[in-house]
Subunit: 381 residues, 2 copies
C-alpha cells in the first residue's frame, strides 16, 4: 500500500480574482476569511482585531461600513494595515463608492438590498475603473422578494439572484467577480452553490449565513463548507459564528486541513477514551492542543489511550503517544523513541513538536503571511 | 415559493437491524450512539454515565469490555438499565461470548484484532443463536496487515476488511449485521463508506476514528458524517470526541438536525455580528442556547443583530428577535409580537420558547425515549 496516498478533492476550475495578492480561484489554495465585529468607526479596536485575525491565520478580512463615519474610519484603517480588506456594504451605494475610493481590495454587495439597478451600476463603474473585485453576496434572509416569489425553493432563488447580478455586472464590463449564496439551512446552501458551480466559472466564496453559536455554527458550517469542498466546489471560505472572529479562522483551517486542502498548525488525533484507557487522556489531549496552538507548521500529533488503535495511529502521525497503564510509548516519525511515565507525556510531546516545527520550512502564499501546503505541493513532495 | 420546502437527502435503502427496539437501517430515523468512558467495572459510574447519555438524547450506548471483570460488571449494568447496550470487544472472543450471554443488545467486534477465523465463528454462533446483531467495526489503526498490504489505499483496505468479514459471517448464517469503516482521515472514511454503500445493503454505522478534541473532532466528524448523510448514506452515527461523551450526543443531534434528518431541541440561528449590531448579541445567543438546552421540542430560534438579515431570519424561525439599537423586535410564528428593550430580550425568548415547547406534541421512536421527527413526518405535516 502506498501509505502516503492522499485522497484530495479534484477542484472545480474557476477564474482567478486577485485581492491584494491573495488569489481567489484559479487553483489557488482555498483562502480563509473572517469579518470584524467591532464598531468600525473605532479604528483602534478594529485594527487590533484585524491583527488578531492575521495572527490566527486569516487571509482576507471583511469590515462592514454602515455609514459615512464607518467609511471615513475604513480609510484610516486601510492606511494602517496591509491585510487584504473587503468592505461590506448594504443599502447605500454611495458607501460602496466611498469604500473603493478609500482603498478597499474588494467590495461585497448584496443585490437584495442595494436598491435600483442604477445604484449597482454606479458601484460597478467605479470598481471596474479601479480594478476592485466585487463579491455578489446573496443571503437567504434578504434575497429580492420578486425572485423568491418566482422560485420553487430558496436554493433556486439564491442562485437566480446571484446569476442575475452576474449578467448585469458583466453587461457593464465587470469580470472580477466572486459569488456567494448563503442560506441558514445546510441543504439549501449546498443546492444553491451546486447550481452556481454548474452555471458559471467565477470563484465561489463558501459559507452559511446566521449559522449560529460556536457549537451549532461549527457543525453546520463544517457540513456545508466541507461537503462542497469535498465535491471540489469553493475557492474561499468564511465560517460564520456568533463567537470571537478568530474562532471562525481556527475552524476554517481545521475544515481545510480535514480535507487535505491546506495544512496549518497541529492536526491532533486523539481517541475518545474508553475503559481501556490507561492515563487521564482528555486533559492531556486538551493541554497538547493548547500548548501547540501557536505552531503554524503542519504536524500531526496522536494522543492515544490504549494498545488497540494507539500504536497504529501514533506510528502514522508525525509524533504521538500510545498510552498504557500509567504511562505511554512515544513515537516520532513512525519510530518508537521511548517509554515514558504519565507525568512526562505532555512535556515530551510539546518538546518534540516544537523541535519538528523548527525544522519545517514553510511554503508561503500571497504576502507571505502564512505557511501552507496546497494539494499540488503535497502530491509533488 | 413553497416556503416550507425541505431539501432532505434521499436515503440509501438498507436492511433493518433491531437493537432492543431501536431500529438501525430500513428507513428508520438515524440513531445517535455514544460510548461510556468510565472504568466499566465501576458499575455505579458506568450506569450514571449511561443515564446522562440517555438524558442527552443518546439512543444506543456502547460499553467496552476489556476483561473478565468488565464482563461481570456488564452483566450487572444490563440488569439496571433498559438502554440498548452494545458490548465493545477487542482481542478476546471469550469476552464477546460472555457479553452476549450477559444480555448485550449488539456486539461490536473488530476483525483486525479478534484473531483466527475460528474465534470469529465461535462469536457468530452464539450471536446468531441468541439473535444478537454484530457490528463489524473496522478501524484504520488496526485493519489486518495483509489486507493493508494488498490494497492501493486505506479506504480500499477498510472496505475489503469489512466485506471479507461480512462474507465470512454470512457463510455462518449471520444476517443481523451493521458495518463501520472508520479512518482518522475524512477522505479515507468517505471513500470507504461509499464503497460499502455500493457493495452491500447492510446498515452503516458512521464515524471517524480518533477524530480528536472537541473542536477538531467536531469539525472532522461533521464533515465526514454530514457529507455521507447528505449523500443518503448512513443509518446510525457516533461522533467520536476526546471529550465528555454527552458532547458527542449533542454534536450528533446538531448534525442530524442540520440535514433535516431528525429534529431534537433548539435550532439556534444566530448572526456572527458586525459593526451594525445594536445589542450585545453573542452573550445573548449563548444564554439562549444554555437556558433552552434541556428542551427536546424541535424549535428554531433566531437571535439576530441588525435589520439587514434580522427580520427575514426571525420571521422564518418559530421564534426570534431582530435587534436594533438597544433592543429588538420579537417575532413568534412569523409575526411581530412586540418591541423590547435589550434587557428584556433573553427572558422573552426563553418564556416564548418554553411556551411553544409545552404546546408541542412529540412523535416517539423505539422505547419512546425521545422526541423526533423523521423526514417522512416533516414531508407529511
Amino acid at each position: 500500500m502506498r501509505e502516503t496516498l492522499r485522497l484530495q478533492p479534484v477542484r472545480r476550475r474557476s477564474r482567478p480574482v486577485n485581492v491584494r495578492g491573495v488569489i481567489i480561484g484559479g487553483g489557488a489554495p482555498v483562502s480563509v476569511q473572517s469579518m470584524t465585529n467591532t464598531d468600525t468607526s473605532d479604528t483602534r479596536a478594529t485594527l487590533a482585531q484585524i491583527r488578531e485575525l492575521q495572527a490566527a491565520g486569516c487571509d482576507i478580512v471583511r469590515v462592514s461600513i454602515p455609514d459615512r463615519k464607518g467609511a471615513r474610519a475604513f480609510a484610516e484603517i486601510r492606511k494602517e494595515t496591509d491585510m487584504p480588506l473587503v468592505a461590506d456594504i448594504h443599502f447605500n451605494f454611495r458607501l460602496a463608492i466611498a469604500a473603493i475610493e478609500a482603498g478597499a481590495d474588494k467590495i461585497r454587495i448584496n443585490p437584495g438590498n442595494i436598491g435600483p439597478a442604477e445604484h449597482v451600476k454606479a458601484i460597478a463603474e467605479v470598481a471596474i475603473d479601479r480594478g476592485v473585485p466585487i463579491r455578489v453576496g446573496v443571503n437567504s434572509g434578504s434575497v429580492q422578494p420578486q425572485i423568491v416569489e418566482s422560485s420553487s425553493n430558496m436554493a433556486e432563488a439564491l442562485a437566480k439572484s446571484a446569476l442575475g447580478s452576474v449578467r448585469m455586472l458583466e453587461s457593464l464590463g465587470a469580470r472580477d467577480l466572486v459569488l456567494s449564496v448563503k442560506a441558514a439551512s445546510v441543504r439549501e446552501t449546498l443546492e444553491a452553490y451546486r447550481t452556481l458551480a454548474r452555471s458559471t466559472d467565477y470563484p465561489l466564496h463558501l459559507g452559511l449565513t446566521e449559522a449560529g453559536t460556536a457549537l451549532a455554527g461549527t457543525v453546520k458550517s463544517s457540513i456545508a463548507v466541507g461537503s462542497l469542498l469535498e465535491e471540489g466546489i469553493g475557492d474561499t471560505i468564511r465560517i460564520s459564528l456568533a463567537a470571537d472572529p478568530c474562532e471562525e479562522v481556527r475552524v476554517g483551517h481545521v475544515v481545510l486541513r480535514a480535507l487535505g486542502l491546506r495544512e496549518r498548525g497541529i492536526d491532533l488525533i486523539a481517541c475518545p477514551t474508553c475503559s481501556r484507557c490507561g492515563v487521564d487522556l482528555i486533559p492531556l489531549a486538551e493541554a497538547v492542543e493548547r500548548e501547540l496552538g501557536a505552531i503554524a507548521a503542519p504536524l500531526s500529533v496522536a494522543v492515544m489511550g490504549c494498545v488497540v488503535n494507539g500504536p497504529g495511529e501514533a506510528r502514522a502521525a508525525d509524533l504521538g503517544i500510545a498510552a498504557e497503564k500509567g504511562g505511554g510509548v512515544l513515537f516520532v516519525g513512525g519510530e518508537v523513541v521511548g517509554r515514558l511515565r504519565e507525568e512526562e507525556l505532555l512535556s515530551a510531546l510539546v518538546f518534540e513538536a516544537k523541535r519538528l516545527a523548527a525544522e519545517w520550512r514553510p511554503g508561503t502564499v500571497g504576502l507571505g503571511r502564512e505557511a501552507m501546503r496546497t494539494p499540488e505541493c503535497v502530491v509533488h513532495e
